[in-house]
């Protein structure tokens, strides 16, 4: 216990140093522990899904909108990059950037109805939206190649440097993007914008009465979340070097959701913990691959039962407050129905 406190104090004093140290250690992984290409693949996937889960966390964890359609953002990013290369021969780097922007645009479009919808309706809308996007991928054969998908995509090349997939370079490349995303998000969340998002999560009407432009910040929230999702999608395109609609099904969206929830929403570290934890578990349970989704399901339900805020979730959110109630067994019943 005492050591725990000391570690905590140390962490609080040298937070930035600790995070940089973590990233350096992660970057050294391919040189030390992770030797086989299989392990490298898992590590790369962990980094890519950590980015995707961070994007979802911005929407679900910080502004409290329940988005189930994260796979659509990944899909748009991935397909934009893929199609631009495949149909128009656009350089991969340009496709990469345009993919991220396209996802941001989609996020903006999806955010328009959120100005009027909330709660349940919004959730159903994001779900329908995700399914519509996937069906477009399947059915618009002349552009997307339908269920066959786009194969043999070129390696990503930036300024003449080629990032070979399946190598250490790709892991580092993805890691740099994760660091970048975390840096931008931490700056963003400590600003007026981040505080506005959290105020929307904790009480939309209260935020409105304090002069927060809720509609504007909600849109911005969806755009930022979608762009990060699109970034993860682009990374997936150039990692697998082929894309097909089954990469972006609703189950995939739920998968990312499970990472965000289990890891903890409302903190920057949560989705990373979740992604590493869930993918690690997936690899361990590979011998029982039929039970993979069953395990995910039990993980989601278990997290909700034990601590809705997740492993490393925000301590100041309404979900965390609720889990405190569960533990204290006090005031939970008297607590008036909260319609959030």
């Amino acid at each position: 216990m005492r050591y725990g406190i000391k570690v905590k104090e140390l962490y609080a004093q040298h937070k930035r140093l600790a995070i940089i140290l973590c990233f350096v250690l992660a970057a050294l992984l391919p040189l030390t522990v992770v030797k086989t290409s299989y392990a490298l693949g898992v590590a790369t996937k962990m980094v890519i899904y950590a980015i995707a889960a961070s994007g979802l966390n911005i929407i679900n964890g910080y502004s409290g909108q329940t988005n189930l359609g994260m796979a659509a953002f990944l899909g748009i990013g991935a397909y934009t990059a893929g199609i631009l290369w495949y149909r128009l021969g656009v350089p991969t780097a340009a496709g990469f950037i345009l993919g991220v922007l396209a996802a941001g645009l989609l996020g903006f479009i999806l955010s328009l109805p959120t100005r009027r919808l909330y709660g349940t309706y919004l959730t159903i809308l994001t779900l329908g939206f995700s399914e519509v996007i996937r069906m477009i991928f399947v059915n618009w054969t002349s552009v997307t190649n339908g269920v066959m998908g786009i194969t043999n995509i070129d390696n990503l090349s930036l300024f003449g440097l080629t990032v070979q997939t399946g190598t250490k370079q790709y892991f580092w490349f993805a890691l740099i993007f994760l660091a970048l995303v975390l840096f931008v998000l931490s700056r963003l969340l400590n600003s007026r914008i981040g505080r506005a998002w959290i105020s929307i999560r904790e009480g939309e009407e209260a935020a409105l009465s304090l002069g927060v432009e809720v509609a504007k910040y909600k849109s911005l929230n969806f755009v930022v979340g979608a762009m990060i999702g699109g970034l993860a999608g682009c990374l997936i395109t150039f990692y697998y070097r082929q894309i097909s609609p089954d990469l972006f099904t609703l189950d995939e969206g739920f998968n990312i959701l499970a990472m965000t929830i289990v890891g903890g929403s409302g903190t920057l570290i949560g989705p990373i913990v979740g992604s590493v934890f869930v993918l690690f578990l997936t690899e361990i349970l590979r011998f029982a691959s039929r039970y993979r989704l069953v395990v995910y399901a039990i993980l989601i339900i278990g997290t909700m039962w034990i601590n809705p805020a997740g492993i490393a979730g925000a301590k100041n959110s309404s979900a965390a407050q609720y889990s405190l109630h569960i533990f204290q067994r006090k005031g939970a019943k008297q607590n008036a129905e909260s319609d959030s």
């Binding site: 189930l68 349940t120 309706y121 159903i124 329908g128 739920f254 069953v294 039990i298 607590n335």
Partner: protein, 289 residues
């Protein structure tokens, strides 16, 4: 003539859809929380009949009863896992629980019942009648009859019995019902079980109508249930039933103009548009705020 035939088929399919929608609205109305498990209760209703038929030769009434009770038992499980603990919690918690529950049931069903499509047993001997050029099978007639009987039974239950009165009270205001001495916990459980039970009956009817069943059949119908209810305004039972009928007929007419691959796409586009334009439902008068 072809159009009339399609409308007739659409009415039959719409009847099943209406039953699906009624069950879903009951759950959403009484429990007050949205559910993603509903499609799986349909699947469990159909699967339980399929498996019991290997032991006992069921007739249609027995099949409906079996489906109702097996799905209602699943309803108890769902209520314990997803709702009763989270009545006062932020809504997304129980929503995520239902997603987890749906994944759990669907994948367990896939593991224990197999992933392939299964043929339904011949509970009804198919015969078709010719009424002035229109063909109608006795399957369709029996399905329609079942839907009508179940709906009449449900409305009698809701409006003529004491439990029905309690359930309606709970769906209107939980705090007020608690104040007058209704056990909200117990009544949401009952409401949820009836809703999932109706889903089970609808599942059997769908499986008989399409003559197949599979472990993943629930996903599509779960989404469709959501679409009907959004069209009907999420809370209104009658509105949801009309929503189901309309979609059933539109789908069957749509076959004439569109290829089947686009049919599901259009129902989702319809959902997105309906949510964007009239989120309070098509058949509900707009509330003044």
């Amino acid at each position: 003539m072809y159009v009339l035939q399609q409308i007739l088929n659409g009415i039959c399919q719409g009847g099943i859809y209406a039953l699906i929608a009624v069950g879903y609205t009951l759950i959403v109305g009484i429990v007050g929380l949205i559910t993603f498990v509903y499609g799986e209760t349909l699947m469990i209703g159909a699967m339980s009949v399929l498996f019991l038929y290997k032991v006992v030769k069921l007739n249609i009434v027995a099949a409906a009863v079996v489906a109702f009770f097996s799905s209602a038992i699943v309803g108890v499980f769902v209520h314990k896992v997803c709702y009763s603990r989270f009545m006062n919690a932020p809504r997304h918690i129980s929503l995520l629980c239902t997603i987890g529950c749906s994944m759990l049931l669907k994948n367990l069903a896939q593991i224990y019942c197999g992933v392939e499509q299964k043929k339904m047993p011949g509970i009804i001997k198919v015969r078709s009648f010719d009424i002035g050029g229109l063909y109608i099978t006795n399957t369709q007639l029996i399905i329609m009859a079942t839907v009508i009987v179940v709906c009449i039974g449900l409305s009698l239950f809701l409006y003529k019995t004491k439990i029905g009165l309690r359930l309606r009270a709970v769906s209107q205001d939980k705090t007020a019902s608690r104040l007058v001495g209704i056990s909200v916990e117990r009544d949401t459980l009952i409401g949820n079980c009836i809703g999932t039970g109706l889903g089970g009956i609808a599942g059997v009817l769908i499986a008989l109508y399409l003559n197949t069943t599979s472990a993943t059949m629930g996903t599509m119908f779960g989404f469709k249930a959501m679409i009907f209810c959004v069209l009907g305004g999420l809370q209104s039972v009658v509105g949801a039933a009309i929503g189901g009928f309309v979609i059933g007929i539109v789908e069957n007419l749509g076959i004439m103009f569109l290829s089947t691959t686009y049919r599901d796409l259009f129902s989702f586009v319809f959902l997105v548009l309906a949510l964007m334009i009239r989120p309070e439902g098509l058949f509900v008068r707009r509330r003044k705020q």
